[in-house]
């Protein structure tokens, strides 16, 4: 018996020395102090001794990455030291990954914000030389082409996902479809554009340009993304709910429509929104299929349309004389595109928040 009282004879045979549970520790926040020290060191090297920025940062980082674990090893022991080392490595990787993101955001905001004006949003580029003009036509084009792509890709992708999760299971057909969807995910966007272009050449002859062809190209890119995200969301619906419906004598299709889809609604909408955000910035396929124009064209089936990504591209590549206003407009269009994607992500978040099943309210 291990639970006997201390007075029993067994207790006397226990080892005489009792191991301590205490271990010296670095003060709380030691990691942050070390980081501060490293930053001070790096800026001292950079500003004080005139060392270049990158080497200064590298020296500071090395001192932090080696010094903190070494100090910890001396005081806290091996396990804590390793913990500190890994913490430094993981945090550094995160910081490094944030650098390009912040840099892009900063650059686009810095160059794009001054361009934004009411004229920029309400004028097309028709008969504009030099300064002035706007992206009214490109916003329309992007919205229409992307919406048309979503109208085609969402039912296709959602129904495929429903088949895969609710009907296909682990069957051979489902496995083949999963494989093909994976292959489709990897199609380079330029290939999708060429496919759509070749398809429309069959019907309209060489040199065809129309918004709908771009929508078809985007559909090719968007469908596998929708399938994948919707499939994951449908798989998250607990099987118990399906069984509960079956046990009430509900047929399978009604179970899908009335139980599975409403339960997964928030996730499905989020997945679809993110798929839209994924294709809205595609440039290459639209360059081939839709082209670019200076005028506003809201007819998807008739001729060239301007879209934000292609507008950005052509404004940079063929700016005209003088080039500065055109390049500024390119930054403005890039900023607007980024804002649209951010708004879409925000909408997805809100939908998740408002539509997900609530436990208590």
């Amino acid at each position: 018996m291990t639970t006997t009282a201390p007075s029993t004879p067994e207790r006397d045979t226990a080892p005489a020395t009792v191991r301590s549970w205490h271990q010296p520790q670095l003060p709380r926040g030691a990691g942050w102090y070390a980081l501060l020290l490293a930053v001070v060191l790096a800026s001292g090297l950079h500003v004080g001794l005139g060392l270049a920025l990158i080497p200064s940062l590298l020296v500071g980082w090395t001192v932090l990455g080696l010094g903190l674990p070494a100090l910890s090893y001396a005081i806290e022991g091996r396990r804590k030291a390793f913990d500190r080392l890994v913490t430094v490595v993981v945090s550094s990787a995160f910081a490094l990954a944030m650098v390009p993101l912040v840099s892009i955001l900063w650059t686009v905001l810095k160059n794009g914000l001054p361009v934004l004006s009411s004229e920029f949003f309400t004028y097309s580029m028709r008969n504009v030389v030099g300064e002035g003009g706007g992206i009214y036509h490109a916003i329309w084009g992007t919205v229409l082409v992307t919406a048309a792509a979503a109208v085609m890709a969402v039912p296709l992708g959602l129904l495929t996902a429903i088949f895969l999760v609710e009907y296909g299971g682990e069957g051979r057909l489902a496995k083949i479809i999963r494989f093909l969807v994976d292959v489709m995910t990897g199609i380079p966007s330029i290939v999708a554009g060429l496919f759509a272009y070749a398809l429309f050449v069959i019907f309209f002859g060489p040199g065809v340009r129309m918004g709908f062809a771009g929508a078809v190209a985007l559909t090719v890119l968007m469908t596998p993304v929708v399938v994948r995200s919707c499939e994951e969301m449908l798989q998250l619906v607990p099987n118990e709910l399906r069984e509960a419906a079956y046990a009430l004598g509900v047929p399978r299709w009604r179970t899908v429509v009335k139980v599975v889809l409403p339960t997964a609604l928030a996730g499905l909408v989020t997945g679809i929104t993110l798929a839209v955000a994924r294709v809205i910035g595609e440039t290459a396929p639209l360059l081939i299929t839709v082209g670019i124009t200076d005028s506003t064209n809201v007819n998807l089936f008739d001729g060239r349309m301007a879209t934000l990504p292609v507008f950005t591209y052509s404004s940079i590549m063929s700016p005209g004389v003088p080039p500065e206003p055109s390049i500024a407009r390119a930054w403005g269009a890039a900023l607007v595109l980024m804002l649209i994607v951010m708004v879409l992500n925000l909408v997805a978040r809100l939908v998740t928040y408002f539509f997900s099943p609530k436990d208590k309210r």
Partner: protein, 286 residues
Amino acid sequence: MSMRSVLRDSATAPVPTASAAGTSPRPAAIGIDVEDLDIYYGDVHAVRGVTLAIPAQSVTAVIGPSGCGKSTFLRSLNRMHEVARGARVEGTVRVDGRDLYAPGVDPVLVRREIGMVFQRPNPFPTMSIRDNVLAGVRLNGGRLKKDEAEAIVERSLRGANLWDEVKDRLNRPGAGLSGGQQQRLCIARAIAVEPQVLLMDEPCSALDPISTSAIEDLIGQLKDSYTIVIVTHNMQQAARVSDETAFFNLAGVGEPGQLVESGPTTKIFSNPDNPSTEAYITGRFG
């Protein structure tokens, strides 16, 4: 006793349901005859040679160690096991004289008469308490007038001993209730379509003792109107709630499960014929 009067009310009120196509009075609860039933999952022989008569309007408990095919057997009684891929059965199951596995029998129609309550409460998370109760009718495309719907909701929730606890918050989500309340909501949902048989797969194993006691009381009331088959790991529960007991066991390691013996609960628990039944009940194995 309140149960009786509630059900009598429901019999007189013309409440359309998915199962009863209109005016015919509710038929008497029915018995189940299982004859030489074998259940397979693909190549796996899960249950072998079960022959069992389940009397009507009583509680039959199915007990036995884990993995002996109790749940599989229970699910074969309303063809829920077919949800798993490759499941098939041999033998016959007759419910009220009708062969469950005759060719042309639609499992969807079977399940509307043979309800099921699961181990873990599973109310539909997108639906309110009211909609959960009405789910069986609504999901099958039934259109209800408001007063009919209210009648079904009140009758079912009273039948599940939940009415007094939730009558002021019928529009709240069903998932907001406690575990025991959720399980009673699931029972209300099952009896809302007026099934003949109620299958319960360890309905209390996820619940605390107080909720368990509430459900056991409920089972005692429901057996006046329904044929109940309950799978349980809890021997005391089987002894408390059931009239008949069937003991399942594995024929051996890697062998299919089989019915060892069945009979009145008092006999199985006091004087079983088979030594392995006695060993299981007295806690010497399993």
